[in-house]
């Protein structure tokens, strides 16, 4: 296979501790190798005066599956002026907040992203998620099945049956080719099937009579029992409501003292996602203020937790989440069209468009909170940049978020443009922060950190020999200061070149190959558990609307290039 050597670039790699030194990166047979291992015929890529990083890793985005597609179907207006023609290697594309699958792959690749995780997969619809993943070119992807409102999980955890829960999780991950244990609004989404919700960790779920706290604890325990690559990944109760930071802290406290158990280098037992939506103080939208300090103080002190930010980008976008009751609440607030799908036995989803206008004080405060979280973070290996795409903004805005984090001037420019600048300054701490993140810290927050949290640290997120050759060169010269922070955004929007698994896929912002993407999933082996298998058979006969054999059949056509992370939990 092809050999490349990327010469003279400024390398930023938290995995090897390289902070901008000039170094060469050598690629051979799809992997990074030592410089000495490539022959003289290796193709030379000149990265002089440029920045070299590993391919970025998206830890949480809604890019494939039924609610994403429902968003596409019901928002033809998202395609207005956002379509791209068939062009060279590219299929035609459409959509801004909910791009078509082809466009999704191309746009991530152009920014230097090479791995992405679909944040929430309803297990009954896993085939749909995988069809869309298959049709998303270039980037490796995985998908997180949701467990927090699942009937099996709630019934087992009511009786504290962690081993049975673990056996069920292992079965479901295999049946759906899933990657991790995702929890969304635990208990509350089952309550939503009756039009109700759980807003604190102690609100019992109707009929099932279990609390969100018990669900969360049980799933953390089951996750560690199995030793999965990623930790339990949670979207806590009470999303989006002023004052909800207390629910967030209650949720985080459940992980206190629990030690991670796995063979993948993961050091956290809980990943808190789109933290911005969960860091609100105040009692209503009038006195709404930032709880970012309180939340990040806790995160900074508790090293067994990782978070991602969920930055608001001040765009018109589409919210979509398995937090069904929240979406109904949102449509009552903004009166924009509401779609909802309750899924039998498992979960639900809701979709509502949203406009984060810089003229609305609430949206401006949300913007500030998202940035505060990253700027208060003491360990960039535990705080990652996301927009919970598309909920807080399209993923194509990551370069803009990076600009705001790296340049206080850019933040000031935006703050001065707010209609309610005074409220932003009084209700958040953003005005007092002069910290500017460095390229090394950005590399940790977008590459090494998420890869490690996902249990992929041996494969991606870094440039150490033996890792996958996912390499990106950006037009940023770390030795020359920026005249204008917009240059940061421009550079991160269009990489000079991107390699995925050793194949050059992007050159000067143009797609030059569709690569050979893989679907990452976790195959966990557990001891035989006849009781769980009987329970599964019984629920399919009585409560599901498909047969067990049809639920389990996920043939090769859905996952044409699988990559299974093997876990052995039989002891």
């Amino acid at each position: 296979m092809s050999e490349y050597i990327i010469k003279n670039g400024h390398v930023f790699d938290p995995v090897q501790g390289i902070k901008g030194d000039k170094a060469d990166v050598a690629i051979k047979n799809g992997k990074i190798v030592k410089d000495s291992e490539v022959s003289k015929s290796a193709k030379v890529i000149d990265a002089k005066g440029k920045t070299v990083m590993a391919g970025a890793v998206e830890i949480h985005a809604h890019i494939a599956g039924p609610k994403v597609n429902l968003g596409r179907i019901y928002r033809p207006e998202d395609k207005l002026f956002t379509c791209t023609p068939t062009h060279g290697h590219e299929r035609m594309g459409s959509g801004n907040s909910i791009p078509s699958t082809f466009k999704t792959g191309y746009e991530y690749a152009r920014m230097g992203y090479t791995t992405a995780m679909e944040a929430a997969m309803p297990p009954l619809f896993s085939r749909h998620t995988h069809e869309e993943i298959r049709d998303t070119p270039i980037i490796d992807e995985g998908a997180f099945p949701v467990f927090g409102n699942n009937w099996f999980v709630m019934e087992y955890l009511k009786n504290r049956e962690v081993e049975n829960t673990a056996a069920y999780i292992a079965w479901l991950l295999r049946a759906t080719k899933g990657y991790a244990v995702k929890v969304v609004n635990p208990g509350g989404t089952e309550a939503w099937h009756w039009g109700l919700n759980c807003l604190t960790v102690n609100d019992p779920v109707p009929y099932f009579d279990i609390t969100p706290a018990e669900i969360i604890k049980g799933l953390i325990d089951a996750n560690e029992y199995l030793g999965l690559p990623h930790s339990m990944h949670i979207h806590p109760n009470n999303l989006g409501n002023p004052g909800n930071y207390t629910t967030t802290l209650d949720t985080l406290k459940i992980a206190q003292g629990i030690k991670p158990k796995n063979k993948f280098g993961r050091e956290q037992v809980l990943h808190l996602t789109h933290t911005q939506f969960h860091s609100y103080k105040g009692t209503n939208w009038g006195d709404f203020e930032s709880g970012a300090k309180e939340v990040m103080d806790y995160i900074n002190k508790n090293k067994n937790i990782t978070v991602d930010t969920g930055n608001v980008t001040l765009d018109e976008t589409t919210t979509m989440t398995a937090d069904g009751p929240f979406e109904h609440h949102l449509t009552e607030l903004n009166h924009l069209k509401w779609a909802n799908v309750d899924v039998e036995v498992e979960t639900a989803a809701g979709v509502v468009p949203y406009i984060y206008s810089p003229n609305i004080s609430v949206c401006a405060i949300q913007w500030a909170i998202g940035l505060e979280l990253a700027l208060y973070a003491k360990d960039p290996m535990r705080c990652f940049i996301t927009t919970d795409h598309p909920n807080a903004g399209p993923f194509t805005r990551y370069p803009r978020v990076i600009k705001w984090l790296m340049s206080q001037r850019a933040r000031e420019t935006q703050i001065n443009a707010f209609k309610h600048k005074d409220k932003v300054l009084s209700q958040t701490g953003i005005g007092a922060i002069d910290r500017e993140l460095t390229l090394y810290e950005i590399a940790a927050m977008t590459r090494a950190g998420p890869a490690k949290s996902l249990g992929l640290s041996s494969m991606c997120g870094g440039l150490a020999p033996g890792m996958d050759a996912d390499v990106v060169v950006y037009n940023i010269n770390p030795e020359k200061p920026f005249e204008n922070p917009d240059q940061i955004e421009a550079a991160f929007s269009r990489a000079a070149c991107v390699f995925k698994s050793g194949v050059e896929v992007v050159k000067d912002g143009e797609i030059v190959s569709s690569g050979n993407k893989r679907t990452l999933w976790v195959n966990a082996k557990v001891n035989d558990n006849p009781q769980v298998m009987r329970d599964i058979t019984e629920k399919f006969l009585k409560y599901y609307s498909v047969t067990q054999a049809n639920y389990e059949s996920l043939g090769h056509s859905f996952v044409p290039n699988p990559y299974a992370l093997e876990v052995d939990a039989t002891q």
């Binding site: 179907i73 459409s94 082809f102 009954l124 619809f125 749909h128 069809e131 979709v351 609307s545």
Partner: protein, 438 residues
Amino acid sequence: MSKKITDVICPFCGTLCDDIEVLVSDDGKKILEVYNACVIGTEKFMHSGAKDRITRPRMRQADGSWKEVSYDEAADYAAQVLAKAKKPLMYGWSSTNCEAQSMGNEIAEVARACVDNTAAVCHGTTLIAVQDIGLPSCTLGEIKNRADRVIFWGCNPAHAHPRHMSRYSIFPRGFFTVKGQMSRKLVVVDPRVTDTARMADVHLQVAQGQDYELLCALRVALKKEWLPDTVAGVPKEKIYEVAEILKSGRFGIIFFGMGVTQSLGKNHNIDEAIALTKDLNEYTKYSIMPMRGHYNVTGSGEVLAWQFGFPYSVDLTRGFPRYNPGDSSSIDLLNRGEIDAAFVIGSDPGAHFPISAVKHLAHVPLVCVDPHITPTSGVSKLHVPVAFNGVETGGSCYRMDNVPIDGRKVVDAPEGMLSDEEFLVMVRDRLKKIKGVA
């Protein structure tokens, strides 16, 4: 000797029953018996073994007779027709699998065609309404487990989705509905006393075409406000009564069909039905679901949406996706005489389009991919029979509630016959060569 294949998916309607069992001969070539399917599904499986099947492509001659051609010649002709045309229409897609639909999309992109599916004559207006107002919905298992109020509005499942009521909506004993039919109240709205209406607790015999008025009246009745003596032929007492029945449930579902999508009012009818559902969510829990017709029209909409951004009536003629029902939709394109070639697959517009549109189809180069002889094949230039999807090939399909199910193959197709997907691959490769595309 024979063998029984279980968990077979029936490829007829949007109910997509997946509990069918098929007895096949030991050599895997003949279907002997079909269990659990309704009479229509049974016929679909059994007919695949009919002796009078056309098994090879055929080209219409100048004198009106057919001449058999090879699949290669058929693919050549289809590719040339698509390459030469300025505005070809690729229509149908609803009775084939997602793999074939995806290949069809690829062809349409290269050919710069208009792509449309049978939603154009079925739930297209539903999609327009959903794009205006949204869609609070759920999966069919939710109905089975929770629903105690079921409304069939402008649909007749007893005839169009025969096992719907026994598998999901009326009879099943679910987790919270252990008394089965006794757990539920059924309201049917239909201008006729249909076989479905005969089972209802309340039948509102709405004046045909006045569903919009009745939906509005129900929304008013929910709020206990004033109504005229009758609305849409229904006395106001009955309207208030039904409003109370709806409100008093724990979990309700409105299923709707052609009675509201195809009558005047069209998408506005659906808009109002969805608005009624949203209103009901202020009192209790309600969802609404379209009764999709073909077994994979939903799949076609899903694949078009994730690949191009729109669920039907997609216009790729300018090299990027556009959507404008009324402009880019098949019937209008045909009625305006804008189409200069047509490729029809997995559907029968010859039988199901108004004749004015069919006349246009008949007078352009028309390729018809269909295992059956149909009115479409009867007016086409090229008829390409293929294996029955869901019987002789498997493949991904999507149920009316968007749940994806992987179809199963139960018997081999007759010797030498190709599947949709295989034929489409041949067409795509030839088209790419003609257009000089990699």
